[in-house]
Amino acid sequence: MLDEFGSQMLSIVLVICFIGIAISIFLLVIRAFIGPSNADRAVAIDTIGANMMAFTGLAAIGLVTDKLNDVVLLIGILLFIGTIATAKFIEKGVIIDRHNH
């Protein structure tokens, strides 16, 4: 009885979460297209990556597998590098400095 209720609630919550993240990614894609400045676009694309991480986690729950945990970690690391590159581009104008002076 309680197990059945739990699995039903989990599937319903999963669907709601998928729909919420899909709406969020859709709005972020709009922001990335019309963003008035380049910083807006960069932040929007960064946040799309964070939503992708959440999406992968939800897919791991839905498929009842632990193989996707590495994928979540991988997306997180690549997102971290992308965030640093974006921040450095906005701050300094170059991503890899050529001369140290």
Binding site: L74, I81, I96
Partner: protein, 152 residues
Amino acid sequence: MKQPNDLILRTTTHLIAFILLGFSIYLFFAGHNAPGGGFIGGLMTSAAFILMYMTYGYDKIKKILPINFRMVAVTGLLVAVLSGLGSFVFQEPFLSHTSGYFEIPLLGEKHLATAMLFDLGVYLVVVGVTLTIILSITTDSGDEFNKDTGVS
């Protein structure tokens, strides 16, 4: 020019570059029947190198890692082709591979496949090509460009 204070980035890069390199080796060896493999392991290694390049600048890392990444890509292609040609020695078709279970000290019984040699070639090609492309794009600008934008 305003010198930004990036002490936190420099300190975390010490730690995170090591974590990234270890994770890339894990991904490389996990890639037979789990997510991973040569491609994504090479991508992770080049992510670690690019993080170091972004933090410390081109010249310093060039001194620390005196590697010509074009040669790395060529070496990887050679390893991949030779792992395919190696099957001719045993009178088998091109690129056929085999596997077996071996007892390794400290690690226990492991499943080793000769497809890992091909994966090593893929790993080296991905590291070489990714870093060659990114470094040649980002270090493209000459001095006159830097003078125009005030970035130098």
